[in-house]
Amino acid sequence: MSPSQWDFPVELCCRPMAFVALTGLDVIYNAVHRAVWDAFCANRRADRVPISFKVLPGDHEYPKCRNKRTSYEWHIPKGILKTGWMNKHLNLVPALVVVFYELDWDEPQWKEKQSECATRVEIVRQSLQGRNTKVAVVLIQKKTPLPPGKLKGQTFIESVKVCLRLSLKMRQLENAFYEHAQTYYYTEIRRVKSHKEFLNKTTHQLLFVRHQFKIAFFSELKQDTQNALKNYRTAYNLVHELRAHETNMLEIKTIAGFINYKICRLCFQHNTPLDAIAQFRKHIDVCKKKIGSAELAFEHAAWMSKQFQAFGDLFDEAIKLGLTAIQTQNPGFYYQQAAYYAQERKQLASVLCNHEPSVMYPNPDPIETQTGMLDFYGQRPWRQGVLSFDPNDPEKEKVGILALQLKEKKVLHSELIITLLSNAVAQFKKYKCPRMKSHLMVQMGEEYYYAKDYTKALKLLDYVLCDYRSEGWWTLLTSILTTALKCSYLMAQIKDYITYSLELLGRASNLKEDQKSRIEKNLIKVLMNESPDPEPDCDATSVKSSQKLWADRVSLAGNNIFTIEVQDFVPFVQCKARFLAPSFHVDTPVQFDIFLKADCPHPLRFSKLCVGFNNQEYNQYCVVEEVYQKNELFTQGMLCLTPGKTKTFFFKFVAKTEDVGKKIEITSVDLILGSENGRCVILNWRGGGGDAASSQEALLAARSFRRRPKLPEGEIHWESLTVQTSTMIISRVPNISVQLKHEPPALMNEMYCLSVTIQSHEKTVAKDVKLTAGLKPGQDANLTQKTHVTLNGTEICDDSFPALLPDIPIGDLQPGEKLEKTVYIHCGMVGTRMFLVYVSYLVSTTIEGKEILCKCHRDETVTIETVFPFDVAVKFVSAKFEHLDKVFSDIPFLLMTDILSTSPWALTIVTSQLQLSPSMMPADQLESYVENVVLQTGESASECFCLRCPPVSSGQTGVATGSYAVSWKRSSAAKSIPVRTVITLPHVIAEGIPLHVNADLPSFGRVRESLPVKYHLQNKTNIVQDLEVSVEPSDAFMFSGLKQIRLRILPGTEQEMLYNFYPLMAGYQQLPSLNINLLRFPHFTNQLLRRFIPTHIFVKPQGRQADNASIAAA
């Protein structure tokens, strides 16, 4: 028996196709025949009819047909299914034999050829005697065919069924073959069915199964898969109706397995995967218990394993063809189960085949048969065809079983298991089952371990370790680590051995204390360059070879320093680094603690502890080293860790002044175990300690409400420690004071004075003092442009001055010395600004006996508001102080300015100046009336200027007035330079007027005294003006003069009108009103006139004539 005894035969697993034999083709020497053959065979795609073609010689001997049995009465079947049957119908007995023959219709030697063809056909028919196989003749012709009507007449060979030319489409020919093949299989099915009635249930049970199977198989050949499935199902049920006994159990299971395979395959093909799964489950449930012979129980396991594997293959194939599987139903489960049965097989084999080496393989070989093959599937070679349930030859039976057992012993079980497991892994990877995948990989690793392939075992186990570690499944982790440790021991891999030992000693391992203790002892042996004791439960021969390896390692003076990154697993030493503060001043030493805690069962002594920083210059200061002899490994020492107790190592060092403002970070902690003369292990923590489990532990500790028990003095709770791996170095605390003196708010455009007082409180000289003052960077860009800082207060800044004056050297400051510096700030825009005053200096101090030059600085920030110092309001009024919307050319008017102080500080107006534009003329002197006026908050100063606007060209409405400049300063800063603020005056609308009237009259009148009034009427136009003048009487006055007149005034000339008014009543009286009517300018109304001439006058009462003296006295 071959090792692949459990594999299904090829003919079972293939897809059955109609078998058509082609004869008369010379495919080697005849090109035409070759072309015919190629047309049939090459590029057979799925859309072509399923036929398997075979070229056979014309005189090929087909398998002989046995004589037809007329009665089954005396026939007793010897088994269920003959081993050769499927192959016979797939490859040996054709459904159709095609005879190719070259013959043209106009062949000259027609007769001879015809008879030769007939002979050929006859030979084939002879060979197929007794079979229903059809024979077809195909004529290969070189010329075009005769019309079909003639073809019908050609009946020279009675069995010609097909007569077509090669030029006809191959497809049609093929389809014709296919039809005939189907007919053949149909008759075969009918033939098999016809046997049924001869069978009886007692003696022919086996035949029921066989016939049913045959029907199903023929149906498949006929491509009738529905019926095939139906018949296979029937066959399957019939198999289980057979009387089963230990002797025929294997046969029944084999056939049941075959039929089940066919059913599942067809179900998948019909896209009914659930049916396939259900059938398979049923099959397994039924067969699980049918173990058969107890001595050969491993055979059952092997058979089960094969069932699962085959189903997995079918499932996987169906998926490749488009079926979708899910996480909980995928081929992986079947491969996994197959692997389990393979493992069971291995286990059973190891028990059942545990023969003494002296037991020899029996001779002659009972498994060997004469043909090298069995007649029936699933029978024992030494009793083929025997149907009785009792082995008639117990001796033979025994020898046979022994032979099978010895054979089984040679099977490489691990290889089978690993293949199945890796199949399963590939599936679970696809269906999102990472944990299942890991689990199977562990099993693979263990299997490799059993197979003594330790390298592969270790590789697989190492790969999955981190998954279990990260999820915190410590039991599983420990189990895997134990196997890994064994592997590394057996291979004498020192580094791996140490790594796994470290973790097995750690808190993640849940080994028993005695195991841990043993591992620790071994670890110490390894460190002292000795061989460790073998791990328990290891294969004895492997142990022997590994001991040799270890001895070689000891003598080999190679690399004995191992660096182990402990961050990624859970070692038996825990480490936490903690700076005492989040920041240190440069003039104080940086201090930190390293906490170590061991979880191993016995105290262990380390040789060195060193800490690495991001600035490696500090590394040299943070080393603890202890030299000890070999035998002192357990004695107390500074670096000796007692299990469960936290040990603290305190370090301090002086930071470099260059590191001010930088972060100092612990990048590594190295703990060295062992010594240079033995083996040396460097446990390396990246960062400030911690390992694969510590973050979760820290989280739990943080959540915990539990109060920790009080510990004796000097001991610390490990959980309460937090890791702080970095600290900032900050500059020394400055010992100077910076005071700012100023009077906010700042007034716009003034030189705001900020006085800075620096006083040193240092004990030594503060050297190289520098002042930086100005606008704090990072504010609005507009502010930067509109702010200027200078040290010179005697002139106003312009835009060329900077907003920040950096590093103004001040020199050295003696202890206690005070220094004042004034900074002037010019703010060209209102708003809030932040100003920075920053004083830096150097001072030397001594810490820890080291002199260092520290750079210190103090900064002050001040927020200053800038406001307008005053508002200037401007208005135009007429000579009568009436508000003017517009001015009339050549007629004087008044410009009034009003300076309203809005500054909280008193302002002194140094001077003011009106600068007129060329289009404006002063009517009199323009001198300032507000010189040296002091304005408190809210006070205002007004000025009035009389101006005249010369005539403007028509169309121009707005006339520029000019500007008004005010020079001012704070009253408090008398010596400072004045600020000149220029206000542009508004434009005014100027208009021409045809006639101007002004009146000469005294400022008051007196009752009953004559009041002379002279009106001047000026023609402002270039034309002669006709005008009507009238004076309306008033109750308060009598008057003399022209009451109504019509006159003409020449261009540019003036007419005077003289009146004598005689007041009758005292008080503020209305004058007799002058009405002028311009005939050419109807718009010139009296309303307008009233603007120019007074309408009222104050009339004083008449004094007593006699009392002139009293008046004089008053």
């Binding site: 089952c433 944990r435 689990h439 562990v442 999820e471 499944w473 039991t475 599983l476 409400f705």
Partner: protein, 139 residues
């Protein structure tokens, strides 16, 4: 009755595992651990459903030849996994459900204990007794 009952933390590490002492304990650890694949998948598929309408019982996670594994997830993502012998056909879905509910109640009691820290291994005797009562009795 169950052959193994496990409580798994939100972060997928075991809080409690008990299996019948007659069988290989490690095997059950692996079974429970691998079943988390399916639990994770089910939880992520459930994530879309409204929280208050969520069914805590996850049903049969996956069947193996010998065992059936059932799952249950609390609102705080603590998982309960129960392994039942495949041959035990008497155990219906409803009974499994009620067993889980019992387990959940008992777990809630554990959590309510002010001396218990969420995330720690469960060491409550009451819980242990309750679990033992649900396990296959081995004489």
């Amino acid at each position: 009755m169950a052959v193994c009952i496990a409580v798994i933390a939100k972060e997928n590490y075991p809080l409690y595992i008990k299996s019948t002492p007659t069988e290989n304990e490690l095997k059950f650890h692996y079974t429970v651990h691998t079943s988390l694949d399916v639990v994770d998948e089910k939880i992520s598929a459930m994530g879309k459903a409204l929280v208050d309408q969520r069914e805590l019982y996850l049903g049969l996670l996956y069947p193996t030849e010998d065992y059936k594994v059932y799952g249950y997830v609390t609102n705080s993502k603590v998982k309960f996994v129960m392994v039942v012998d495949s041959s035990n056909t008497a155990l219906r879905d409803n009974e499994i459900r009620s067993m889980f509910r019992k387990l959940h109640n008992s777990y809630t009691d554990v959590i309510c204990n002010p001396f218990y820290n969420p995330g720690d291994q469960i060491q409550s005797r009451a819980f242990d007794n309750m679990v033992t009562s649900m396990m296959v009795q081995v004489c």
